[in-house]
């Protein structure tokens, strides 16, 4: 605490303070949340390498060459696989599909869950009960199995994988947002709005919804890691992203037993990338939760 002013370290309300420089604030929050910062740094690396993949590696991830099973070298940083494709290129291009599927399915699924919960919890009654029972059924079931069956039925394509994971995510967000709506709708400002004759939609979207944003963000960030794992698991089972798109999960299937002795970099590289990304999302999710939910601080 040598470089930070004393007053800043005792301030507990938020991380940003008026009059403080951007970098100072950043440094301060990094000190206070070392694990969350580590998560953010890891994610920044994963996202940057996925976005700028063509500038990082000259290799085409799908180019089949005769340089098969080469060990890591200056030319191929993580070696090549059984088809002579550059493993490093496949790993960083693989991040693209993982992040795309993770973000899209999380936004779609948690968004649908939140809207559903918002409307059904506010109105209550039979409709709410029906939605709840349906969520219970979805919730009681292993999410990977539901996603697997949905993709089997719809056929495996990137769009269907996103859809399947989104469906699996719905009950999570619905449950969290619902309990918040039940609290908020009894608040005096909602009663006041009702007394003033505001329309139901106005109350829902201008008074109730903004007060459910914090738990929603917590559940959405916590979901991201899980969504990426589900995509990787589906691809690993051969029901996810169809080839030849590089995908961490697919590149892991069947490579362990075949290349463990001959070329261990083939199964290890995508797995490390996958765990790192999920690790980053989990750390960030924890930090966001601590930040937005003061009751859980310090646990």
């Amino acid at each position: 605490m040598a470089t930070t002013p004393r007053s800043a370290s005792t301030e507990r309300v938020g991380l940003v303070r008026k009059g403080q420089g951007f970098w100072k604030t950043l440094l301060l929050s990094a000190r206070r949340k070392p694990l969350g910062t580590a998560g953010a740094v890891i994610l920044l690396l994963v996202v940057a390498s996925a976005v700028f993949a063509p500038y990082i590696t000259p290799h085409d991830p799908n180019a089949i060459t005769t340089a098969r099973l080469r060990p890591p070298s200056a030319e191929h940083w993580l070696g090549t696989d059984h088809l002579g494709r550059d493993v490093f290129a496949r790993v960083i291009y693989g991040g693209r599909i993982s992040l795309l599927v993770g973000f899209l399915s999380t936004i779609l699924g948690t968004g649908a869950g939140a809207v559903l919960a918002l409307i059904s919890a506010y109105w209550g009654g039979v409709w709410d009960n029906g939605v709840q029972r349906f969520m219970d059924i979805l919730w009681a079931f292993p999410s990977l199995i539901i996603a697997l069956v949905i993709v089997t039925v719809l056929g495996s394509s990137t769009r269907n994988v996103i859809l399947a994971i989104a469906i699996v995510v719905v009950p999570l967000a619905a449950r969290v947002v619902r309990s918040q709506v039940l609290i908020v709708k009894e608040m005096e400002y909602v009663k006041a709005a009702q007394a003033l004759g505001a329309s139901t939609w106005r109350i829902l979207f201008f008074h109730v919804a903004p007060n459910c944003v914090a738990p929603y963000i917590i559940v959405a960030t916590a979901t991201l890691g899980g969504a990426i794992v589900t995509e990787a698991s589906l691809s690993f089972l051969g029901m996810g992203i169809p080839p030849p798109t590089p995908s961490w999960g697919r590149d892991l299937f069947g490579t362990a037993a075949n290349y463990a002795e001959l070329a261990p970099w083939i199964p290890i590289a995508p797995g490390v990338a996958l765990s790192l990304a999920v690790y980053g999302f989990n750390l960030l999710g924890d930090a966001v939760r601590d930040l937005l939910d003061p009751r859980l601080r310090g646990r």
């Binding site: 079931f141 697997l148 039925v153 690993f236 089972l237």
Partner: protein, 319 residues
């Protein structure tokens, strides 16, 4: 207590029924004619004689109205009749039951590992809060959450092959026939399934114990001069384990997903791989039977947790 159990039981039956209905709907959304799929691989575009197709449709009951199909499907699933596998042609339930012991065996082993490692690690992490030991336990816990079970399985396979040039055998030996062979075969796959749950249980035990340790009655116990051991194990843990039990029950469903990927990774002939192969072959009877079985297992596990919870927690029991 009895009313509570009856309500839970009814809710469980409703869940299984709901899953059965959803499966029925899902299987009717499937693009393409099931009779055609049963007779020929549609991707190859083989022509099937019309009479043969009609016969197959009658055999599968597809010529009946949808409502009647639904009732037949429900009646059949209650009697555990799921027809024949479209691959192999064996009775689905027989085939399933043949593969189930391996998966159950793995699930039980994984559960034992989770409890034996996760709870002590969580306790240690809580009573040594903010020491290096706590950080190590937390890092283990969060890596458990970040490493999907199939990736743990792959790491184990790579290490086993490189160090011992050995992999677990592929045919199942029941525990009561040869305990040692059974354990050498299933120890590593079960650990791959358990690893993530160890993380969950460690985190839950830690946070719940930390919370309980701040309670007044714990301060009373300290001021009575009791030993730390007694306070933690007899006073605090009893209350701290309640949410852990709930989490264990909730995680049971996720463990089934873990079984599917780990069995696929290790090539083990269990019920999980049966479902995985069925999805690859679009063997819908097998998928339906598996979903029904999973719904039954998850519901039973949740019921068991509810009963256990009520038994352990007088507040629930006496309500």
């Amino acid at each position: 207590m009895r009313a509570f159990l009856i309500r839970r039981l009814l809710l469980g039956i409703l869940t299984v029924y709901g899953v059965a209905t959803l499966t029925f709907i899902l299987m009717r959304i499937v693009p393409g004619d099931p009779a055609l799929i049963a007779l020929a691989d549609p991707s190859r575009g083989e022509a099937v004689p019309k009479a043969q197709l009609e016969a197959k449709r009658r055999e599968l009951g597809l010529d009946k109205p949808l409502a009647q199909q639904y009732i037949t499907w429900l009646a059949n699933s209650i009697r555990f009749n799921f027809g024949k596998s479209s691959w192999g042609g064996g009775d689905v339930v027989d085939e399933y039951l043949r593969r189930l012991p391996l998966s159950l065996n793995m699930a039980i082993l994984a559960f034992i590992m989770t409890v034996l490692v996760g709870i002590p690690l969580g306790i240690l992490s809580a009573i040594k809060q903010d020491t290096p030991l706590d950080y190590i336990a937390r890092i283990i816990a969060i890596s458990g959450l970040s490493m999907p079970s199939f990736w743990v399985a792959i790491l184990i396979i790579v290490v086993l092959l490189r160090v011992f040039s050995w992999l677990p055998s592929l045919d199942y030996v029941p525990f009561w026939e040869n305990p040692l062979r059974n354990l050498t075969q299933l120890f590593f796959p079960s650990f791959a399934v358990a690893f993530g749950f160890i993380g969950v249980v460690t985190r839950m035990t830690r946070s719940s114990l930390l919370e309980v340790l701040r309670e007044d009655y714990i301060r009373t116990a300290w001021s009575k001069g009791l030993r730390e051991r007694t306070i933690i194990l007899r006073h605090a843990l009893r209350n701290a384990l309640l949410p852990v039990i709930t989490v264990l029950g909730l995680q049971f469903g996720f463990a089934i997903g873990g079984l599917v990927v780990v069995e696929a990774a290790f090539n083990l002939p269990g019920a999980g791989r049966f479902l995985f192969e069925a999805t690859l072959r679009r063997d819908y009877n097998v998928i339906q039977a598996s979903l029904f079985a999973i719904a039954l297992f998850v519901t039973l596990a949740n019921l068991l947790v509810d009963v256990l919870y009520a038994w352990l927690n007088p507040r629930v029991r006496l309500e």
